[in-house]
Symmetry: none
Subunit: 253 residues, 2 copies
DNA sequence: TGAAATATCCTCATTACTGAGGATAGAAAT
DNA sequence: ATTTCTATCCTCAGTAATGAGGATATTTCA
């Protein structure tokens, strides 16, 4: 398989997006836009499977009606004859690979949901991390188009693992409060190691929160000079000479 | 730019390698092998810059003599007229872009080291994470070949960011000092979000490392006022008013 | 090629921080 | 009961950082 100039540009552009460090939703939106162009498709949707609720959440969509997708989330996803099968696949899969076209077009799911928005030919890719579905790519073409070819599936399959990896990274970064908690525990450790008093720890945390000496004084209702005294003691105990060193000291041991 | 069948296969294969989760050295070896094929080159070397020792370490090489590379690590890297310049670039750069061929071929570095192993035309790519060089790709062609073309540089530049991202992930997995890596990735995110330039990211990282403005100036060999300029721009882009706020901004999002 | 972005350098006034020297009152430990 | 620790307050000299105003050369990109 060779790639045309336009395809090469799009593939490289997607690679760049996957490496940039976007948040998971922005990542899916950007990749979706470019995949539509790359695969000559018109409709894109992406969800993240929520294991606790057993449902698809965090919708990202392009060219699809919100009402229809709302209906999918509320109703159709629970009587969807194709997505659970597609979801089990670990590679890009056309709807037509798992259900004959004739039968598919007679389903309620197709007639009342997909066709409602003009979706006729679909291919899905599901990203997995350690057995957990962490996001998907659902690409659809309209009635006037044809089904996806092997070539197009190959392209999607090439991009798939890179997308999975990027989603994994994005979700790891989004795992809430991680940094904050780490900072607090790191501070606690450093403080205990250096025998900081309770008050000194408090001041220390305030410094790390980005407050100026005067702000700290106001916050704790003590005088500026008292704050300075505390900070001087903290520096002495930690063997540092300034607040920026405080951070590197606390974070990097 | 279009890609031939062979090139497409190699690009997709590299993408797969970059997403697989290999250790950093294995990652570089695999990518190196495929890049040689992709760029019609014969020699590959890759190092990771060690900031504490100010030297290139963790060699991975293909088709190059161990003796010669040993000499590079011991001696030539410290009197290398081209690599420090290439290293400062944030994109794939040919040796011929930074030094005229005629002058280059008269250097001791070329005659006693490179030509010794048959290396004539080279292109390098340096991966950066938050101002830190976390790995490189050095690709060389022999005497009987020609210099690398723009097209080949474009290909390498497309793969570059994905390689950087993969290296970042690999090193995060390998690093035991979790905090440091978290800080680096957090910085990377904040920097991307605020559209910081490469140089600004570097300065930003130095500030976070606890260096004073004067120390930063010395470290990068620029004037104190230039550092101040960069920092001023960083504050403007991030909407903050001081370095302690920078800390809380980067750490706590 | 021309515009925009980037990296580099500069001054000057002001503010914030650091280091070194105190003092005092109360709590905790020996 | 005395010492040590802690929290609070103070001055003052010196250093570092900030904000606002530039300038210029190079690189990048449309």
């Amino acid at each position: 398989m060779n790639l045309t100039t336009k395809e090469t540009d799009l593939v490289f552009s997607i690679m760049a997006d996957l490496s940039y460090g976007y948040a998971s939703s922005e990542l899916r939106r950007r990749v979706g836009l470019k995949l539509l162009d790359l695969l000559d498709a018109q409709y894109f949707a992406s969800y993240v499977w929520n294991t606790t609720e057993n449902a698809f959440c965090e919708r990202v969509s392009i060219n699809m009606s919100d009402d229809n997708l709302g209906a999918y989330e509320q109703h159709f996803q629970f009587c969807d004859p194709i997505t659970p099968v597609l979801q089990r696949r670990r590679k890009a899969t056309c709807v037509s690979e798992i259900m004959p076209r004739s039968r598919f077009e007679r389903t309620e799911f197709f007639n009342d949901f997909l066709a409602n928005d003009g979706l006729h030919y679909g291919v899905n890719y599901y990203a997995y991390s350690g057995g957990t579905n962490i996001g998907d790519l659902r690409i659809w073409r309209g009635r006037n188009k044809e089904d996806f070819s092997h070539r197009e599936l190959d392209i999607l399959n090439a991009i798939g693992p890179a997308f999975t990896n990027a989603m994994r990274g994005a979700m790891a970064r989004e795992k809430t409060t991680q940094g904050k908690v780490d900072l607090v525990t790191a501070l606690e450790q450093a403080a205990n190691g250096a025998m900081l008093t309770a008050r000194e720890k408090e001041i220390c945390a305030a410094v790390l929160a980005g407050l100026s000496d005067q702000q700290i004084a106001t916050k704790y209702g003590i005088s500026f000079t008292t704050v300075r005294s505390h900070i001087k003691h903290i520096y002495g105990k930690l063997g540092i000479t300034g607040r920026t060193q405080l951070l590197s000291r606390v974070i990097m041991h």
